[in-house]
């Protein structure tokens, strides 16, 4: 079957930090051109760092495919979507589209707070590429989907954030282009609404439309997509193919990366005044652990070094994500009420968990150190945590592994007197 999207050798170059990348004032441009006339004429933006957000990306999509594009932050997913949506122009390469494209890079694009729900449906619909007639025929359906019937003539600035998001998504959900390009807009709203959105995406896909979907959520990609592709630093790491293969590839990449020593990792953010050096796990007796066990006393240690001793009010956090799905928990000294007013030049933070409540499986943790809300060091997907089965409840029993989640301390009682009385009468 002939492809509906053909991408050939697509590349996109960005200049970081240079005057060419961001807007400038006339004076800067004039000064620049006076100071370095030769360089200015040759390059137009001197001294800027180059970044290939996409490099030589090629693939073909057949009609009816639901394609998942997977990759870490900065892998080029969003740039690819922007090129496909004709928002930015590629540096080289070519894209052929054999169908009309509607792109959803966020929900509620162009919503105006002063306009009513009704007015915003028309405005947003037309921005997304719907004709007025099309909006008119779908109007009632959109309102019903968003569950905002009562407030349809109220300015959206008076909406709760939930209503706002529901209305915005409802408009988008009723787009019917041949190719739908979707960024991670599903990460909005409450769980019930998310489910509804996923269902709607499935409906769109089942009518033979082509969907391109970018997500971090492996569970959503697995359940929604028929094909997937992995991007890594702008290049195709896993060519468009089976979803399981792509998800595996992505997870092993993340795993691979977490094996690099934290001190040597370059994909970090923050001002670097304090740097994370290492991460290790210990049991209650102080033995270092390679694998954790459910229900065990566990100590997480984050080793750091600091440029000076003047760093105040330090906040450390560990964000734990399950490899099969979403966010699990955030450990933070601020939340726990333990404050670190000042820190030594070298040392480690310890986070003690009396009984590890994680189900067996693989987890990824991100680490962040802040001081007075300034990010000092932040490594996303810093380490992999492997949890082995253990006896959380001291009963030798565990919920079935299919029921993933966390384990909670629990006590059960039975109060049967009323029931038995009622039964007797």
């Amino acid at each position: 079957m002939r492809p509906i999207i053909r991408v050939e050798g697509l590349s996109k170059l960005y200049y970081l930090g240079g005057s060419g990348a961001a807007y400038s004032t006339l004076r800067e441009t004039l000064m620049e051109s006076l100071r370095k006339p030769v360089r200015y004429l040759r390059r137009g933006n001197s001294g800027s760092e180059k970044l290939w957000a996409l490099s030589d990306v090629s693939f073909e999509v057949t009609p009816g495919d639901v394609v998942g594009i997977i990759g870490r932050n900065g892998a080029g997913k969003s740039t690819l979507l922007k090129v496909l949506s004709r928002i930015v122009e590629p540096t080289s390469g070519r894209v052929e589209l054999y169908g009309r494209v509607a792109s959803l890079l966020e929900v509620g694009t162009g919503f105006h707070p002063e306009l009513t729900g009704r007015e915003n449906i028309y405005l947003n619909g037309s921005i997304l590429g719907m004709s007025r007639r099309e909006i008119e025929t779908k109007f009632d359906e959109i309102v019903a989907f968003a569950e905002v019937e009562k407030f349809i003539d109220t300015p959206v600035k008076r909406y709760s954030s939930g209503m706002y998001v529901r209305l915005a998504f409802a408009v988008a959900a009723h787009l019917e282009p041949e190719i739908l390009v979707v960024d991670e807009v599903l990460a909005v709203g409450d769980a019930a609404f998310q489910k509804k959105c996923l269902g709607r995406m499935r409906d769109v896909a089942s009518t033979g439309r082509t969907v391109i979907f970018v997500s971090h959520n492996m569970a959503a990609v697995s359940s929604l997509c028929t094909k997937a592709m992995v991007l890594w630093e702008g290049k195709v790491e896993y060519p468009l193919g089976s979803v399981e293969g792509a998800v595996q590839q992505y997870l092993s990449q993340v795993h691979q990366m977490t094996k690099t020593r934290l001190a040597e990792r370059t994909d970090r953010q923050g001002n670097g005044r304090v740097r994370i050096k290492d991460f290790a796990t210990f049991d209650g007796q102080g033995n270092e652990l390679e694998y954790l066990a459910t229900g065990q006393e566990t100590h997480f240690r984050i080793y750091y070094s600091s440029e000076d001793t003047g760093v105040q009010n330090v906040a450390v956090a560990i964000g734990i994500t399950s490899n099969s799905g979403g966010f699990v928990s955030m450990l933070s000294n601020q939340v726990a009420g333990d404050t670190f007013e000042s820190i030594a030049r070298d040392g480690y933070f310890t986070c003690k968990i009396k009984k590890l409540p994680l189900m067996p499986g693989n987890y990824t943790a991100g680490l962040i150190i802040r001081s007075n809300d300034v990010i000092l060091d932040w490594i996303q997907q810093a380490v992999t945590i492997v949890v082995e089965p253990g006896d959380f409840y001291g009963t030798g029993r565990m919920p079935p592994p299919t029921h993933s989640g966390v384990l909670l301390e629990q006590e059960w009682t039975l109060n049967g007197s009323r029931q038995t009385d009622a039964g007797k009468e």
């Binding site: 009816g64 922007k82 122009e89 054999y98 009309r100 105006h112 004709s131």
Partner: protein
């Protein structure tokens, strides 16, 4: 980003019934791609058919601007009338009474208003469209549409105010018993000329503004200076004949004198109007060209 081949299908139009029922296997793909995206190809800078396909968006953006402009204001759309009205009163006091400006036999208040109404339209157009692209950054980085629609919608929204202010002018003309002649038939052409010249300058400014935010500060200043050389306060006949040709390089001067001629039955200054029309066309082409060139990088730098 070139739109080749079947241009007749508006992107915004509803998908055809047969396509929406196609379950993947019976989908008829066009032989030629609907859209080709590539770098630096020699695509025609602005595709008029693309803009035509998005005409409904142009309407909705204009409608939004009109609707939102006077929300939460006490006086609402009266502002469209108050602005030129107060300017007229001040000009009348200082120039009509104190300086005794010769206003070609027409009462000075309506002489001034006939210049102020189109001038306000023009200056609002270049301000609004000049800032429109930067103000629409959230749209430009999230969804595709021909970017020229943004400054064009800003201009059309100003046209609504212009019509309201023009109503005031007509009322005052009745009050001063200035008769209308058949020359008012030239008005639509003059309005078109004002709108196109405003669009030309505004579009150019909006593209410059994306790259150089100086525009935001320079524009109000430029407009103030421009007012004094646009025959709004004084008739162009007050300029010594030797220097009158200089005024011709300012299309607004010729256009505003044109409005007065059409409204008050005065003789038209055809050479001035001809030059104004020619300059408008040049300005429009130049601004669309430079806008089209800049359009490709808007989303990267805005």
């Amino acid at each position: 980003m070139k739109q080749t081949a079947p241009q007749t299908i508006p992107v915004a139009s509803a998908i055809s019934a047969e396509n929406s029922q196609a379950s993947g296997t019976t989908l008829h793909l066009p032989d030629e791609p609907l859209v080709v995206i590539q770098a630096n190809n020699k695509w025609n800078l602005i595709s008029l058919s693309d803009i035509w396909a998005y005409r409904e968006l142009l309407f909705f953006l204009t409608w939004r601007d009109v609707k939102v402009r006077y929300k939460q204001t006490l006086l609402g759309a009266a502002w469209a009338i108050l602005q030129p009205l107060f300017m007229m009163i001040i000009f009348t006091i200082f120039f009509g009474r104190l300086a005794g400006v010769d206003s070609a036999g027409v009462p000075y208040p309506i002489f001034a208003l006939a210049g102020l109404v189109p001038w306000t339209f023009f200056s609002n157009t270049i301000t609004a469209s000049g800032n429109s692209l930067v103000g629409s950054a959230h749209l430009i980085t999230k969804v595709y549409f021909p970017r020229l629609i943004v400054p064009a919608a800003a201009m059309l929204a100003g046209l609504v105010d212009f019509v309201l202010a023009f109503g005031l002018l007509i009322v005052l003309m009745f009050y001063y018993r200035v008769p209308l002649t058949t020359q008012v038939l030239f008005l639509p052409a003059l309005v078109l000329l004002t709108a196109l010249f405003g669009l030309g300058v505004g579009t150019w400014m909006s593209a410059l503004n994306v790259k150089y935010r100086d525009v935001r500060f320079a524009l109000p200043f430029l407009i103030q200076l421009w007012l004094f050389v646009s025959s709004v306060i004084l008739p162009s006949s007050s300029v010594p004949a030797k220097w009158r040709w200089v005024l011709m390089f300012n299309p607004m001067s010729g256009i505003i004198e044109g409005y007065r001629a059409a409204l008050f039955g005065l003789p038209f200054d055809w050479p001035a109007l001809g030059v104004a029309t020619a300059l408008t066309i040049v300005m429009l082409f130049y601004s669309i060209y430079s806008f089209g060139k800049a359009e490709r990088t808007f989303a990267d730098i805005i």
